[in-house]
């Protein structure tokens, strides 16, 4: 909290995410983390491949 940006991060970002997942999901954290990672990777890969266009172009709900 009191840390300034010039200091080196105490942890790797991945480690922090892992700790968050552990706190949120406890014993099932690894399973859920695995499911989420797989899904996000598939989403990202699919976006690269399909190049979807946002629809509608302008958000309906601003």
């Amino acid at each position: 909290y009191g840390r300034t940006t010039t200091e080196a991060p105490a942890q790797q970002p991945g480690q922090q995410r892992k700790a968050e997942m552990k706190l949120l999901y406890g014993a099932r954290a690894a399973v859920i983390h695995g499911l989420e990672t797989a899904m996000q990777m598939e989403f990202d890969a699919s976006c690269d491949l399909r190049q979807p266009k946002l629809w509608p172009t302008i958000p309906l709900k601003l």
């Binding site: 899904m39 996000q40 989403f43 699919s46 190049q51 509608p56 958000p59 309906l60």
Partner: protein, 112 residues
């Protein structure tokens, strides 16, 4: 001094039981959250490739084939989106624009 010892023991017992209660509450919360989240992720996986009807803001309704969602639930990747202006083969819908989506999942039997 025996009273003092008893008090201390009792205090420790209280501390012990309070922390057990907190641990129990946390693990119950984690259990509930995992149950809900895993089911949701499996549901998203399960509707992949299914024709979906989207009800959106501004009385907009469209049909598309559901593909994937990002994990934060910000966007849905769809294909063959039928818009009033024609069909868009690949499209991204903003979840913030959507109110509800219905998917026909067919009969009760599921393939293994």
């Amino acid at each position: 001094m025996e009273d003092g010892v008893d008090d201390k023991t009792q205090n420790n017992d209280i501390l012990q039981s309070t922390s057990t209660t907190n641990d129990d509450r946390l693990s119950q919360e984690q259990e509930d959250r995992s149950f809900l989240r895993e089911r949701f992720l499996h549901f998203l996986k399960g509707i992949q490739g299914k024709r979906t009807h989207f009800k959106m803001y501004e009385k907009t309704e469209v049909d598309a084939t559901f593909q994937l969602s990002d994990i934060d639930g910000q966007n849905f990747l769809v294909s063959d989106l039928e818009t009033p202006m024609g069909t868009q083969p690949q499209a991204m819908l903003r979840c913030a624009d959507i109110i509800s989506c219905s998917v026909d999942i067919g009969t009760g039997e599921h393939k293994m």
